[in-house]
Symmetry: C3
Subunit: 317 residues, 3 copies
């Protein structure tokens, strides 16, 4: 299979074809095996990843720099980007050009929607969007989708309930878009407070592929039918009015009580961190909860696969 990801940007789910997705999933399997057997190897020796996080992060930042080094590459680890030339007045364009000279790939997180996409105009090396404000977070969506498909390898139709702040949650934007374009039939439940509904643009995008969409603010109505319960945190930093945040921050609290009618095969996912009690800690040890196990582990494997495919032309591991 030709590696069509080599040298390409990954800033949006729009950059991912079904064929590419399969390529990534195959490479992810190899990476999982590699990590379990040896931790990693030297295939990206001499290559450098610049992790430019204009918004601080722990897990995405750490998993990308872990992934890069497990494959033998080096890192420019800039988490927070407060010590930068931007403070001296440098344009974003110049900053991007500078780093694309030092590094072979840029992983960019930015509080502003569209900045990673904009940086592709300036960069001479591939750019990966690691989250842009309320925009997208494609690598997260890829490993979420991988995780769902691995848990239900034979199920052609899946009922996926996305819960929480669907308006501002970039992970659910990317996930809905990506699931929609796969070869599975998805019944989406978009479950959110009324002021935090899934944006029309995402719904239109999903509808293009003829998936069923239900929208509600009542979680309890949808738990029983779900194969996947994908819960998100209401992110304080996305609200301009604190009062709106206070009104909705504890809107959903997933606990064993609400799960009493849930399927045995249900999987409970979360992009982490779980912050405001949106999933009760009693569920951490529930076998249906995979946010601290396979979902999290797959994040590392998928990011290794992405870096390998984007940075190495050879299509074999």
């Amino acid at each position: 299979m030709t590696n069509m990801l080599f040298g390409k940007n990954l800033v949006s789910i729009d950059d991912i074809s079904l064929q590419n997705l399969n390529l990534i999933f195959t490479r992810t399997e190899e990476m999982k095996k590699l990590v379990k057997e040896k931790g990693g190897d030297s295939r990206l020796k001499g290559k450098i990843l610049a992790a430019l996080f204009f918004e601080p992060s722990t897990r995405t930042f750490s998993s990308f720099i872990s992934a890069m080094q497990r494959l033998g590459g080096g890192i420019i680890p800039l988490n927070g980007m407060t010590n930068t030339s931007i403070e001296k007045g440098e344009s974003f364009e110049h900053t991007v050009k500078v780093f694309s000279t030092y590094a072979d790939c840029l992983v960019i997180r930015h509080p502003q929607v569209g900045l990673p996409k904009k940086s592709c105009l300036y960069s001479t090396v591939p750019v990966i969007n690691a989250g842009d404000g309320i925009g997208e977070h494609p690598s997260q969506a890829i490993y979420d989708t991988y995780t769902i498909f691995k848990h239900f390898p034979h199920k052609k139709e899946l009922i996926v309930s996305l819960v929480g702040d669907l308006k501002n949650g970039r992970t659910v934007h990317s996930l809905a878009k990506l699931l929609a374009k796969t070869n599975r039939k998805i019944h989406f439940n978009f479950i959110s407070p009324k002021i935090l509904k899934m944006p029309e643009e995402i719904k239109r995008n999903v509808a293009l592929y003829h998936h069923k969409i239900d929208e509600t603010d009542k979680l309890s109505e949808k738990v029983g039918m779900s194969d996947v319960l994908y819960v998100t945190r209401v992110q304080k930093e996305r609200f301009t009015k604190l009062i709106e945040y206070e009104m909705v921050k504890s809107y959903y609290q997933v606990d064993s009580q609400i799960l009493k009618n849930a399927k045995k095969e249900l999987i409970i996912m979360h992009p982490l961190p779980i912050a405001a009690g949106e999933i009760n800690t009693e569920l951490d040890t529930d076998p249906r909860s995979i946010y601290l196990t396979s979902q999290l582990q797959n994040g590392l494997y998928v990011r290794m696969a992405l870096l390998d495919l984007i940075l190495r032309k050879e299509s074999n591991g």
Copy 2:
């Protein structure tokens, strides 16, 4: 010799048997040779160390990440841990679980006693305590002990004077506990201001092994007999009452005058940094001072040995 440290935690001196200590010392000799000859090698290729410093550090942080990379491993370098999901409300348990997914070993420093031990409950990979408040600092104690034994290879009985803040100093807690369980006979002098005496628990622990203990606040009485003078800084950050700190911060000032009756073979040690004049800079070039030379160098070699033993099953170098 079987590598009994493989996959094990190192959070307290209680985790170290005499047999393990000998294993570490043997590997340390190999590491010293490796660094001098080649700087390092690739034995930990593909492995990742997460350095999670919830309290900022310079030397411990830097020596662990240097040690890991000299052996070919990669790093997640988080010094200060201010940019973390913890600020978003994530539990410590989840943070530990996340990093134990990305990394093969966690090195944790935390201002709160017991947090590194607690993290072992959650982590799926080995944890090394790099200092927990006034608790322990086992890797420091191991290289201090290694240094003392290397300087006195044949002396069966040693007079070791620990000087300074013995109440809050985690290095002296770990060192006393470790020296006590070796096969040398130790005469301990615990020299501190009255309000900063060695905790009863540590003294009981030492007494178990039938070592002699003298306690005093008079340094001058004990200098002449000492083989080892281990001086510590009075750490402002450990005091809740500033007035108590001011009373004792300059209690001991080791200089050439106080050393006039000292043995020629004496070694003067300090865990660094030397901050408040507790050792006069005139002693930096005294041949008996080893805090900037062999003691410091052994820190790197011991940490390389620990990472190698904990991360690689093979018991040979």
Copy 3:
């Protein structure tokens, strides 16, 4: 050719002989080829670079840690150095001694002139000055000179115009000193506001080699004759009186208008970041502008060459 840079410090242009400069340029060519073909290799495996930036930086910091890792070495990346033992009261001497124990080379940036030089007294490993206040920035001068010579390989006489804050700009200090000692004949134009003139000491140093020097505050008079227009930012952080900064910050604005009489072969350089409009963005795409292309790229190659020569005795690549 014997590698005379092995184990040596690089704190000032005074440390560079013409013979060493040729050695660096030859190695730089090899590095350029290496990066283009493979990204890097493993020749510095087991070696550690401590990047001790007591003043925050983006590009110099990132290019040094990229360079080190492209050659297989590891890094102690301390940008900002706020989390340090210095806050606990440790002396600069001790800090340097500590890092020279953990690392094989120290790259030091410091706001105070002379600190990198001073650190050579304490360090047991080579020190590279990555910029000391208004002092020097030798690695920048080396890649600037390399860039100029590559663009004019056969021109024995060059007209080089240095523009901007020549008083406080460490890059122009180092560049003037280095160009002066090469085997090219240079006609220097020192173009600055009257309060920001090139220091006498630098002018004397340049005059030693019998180069022509013109000084003026009128940029327009000198543009037409120039082969090289080296523009610098007026750095706010170097001014003690804000009013003086405000008076001169926009003194020069290089744009297409002022270039209307410029030579076709002119090259426009800048050490970056461009901050206050000293070069109009319209010139970014002018083929004569090389500050975002070859000048920047050469920074990486030259720093790789320097690290390779300083850290490996073998004189061949």
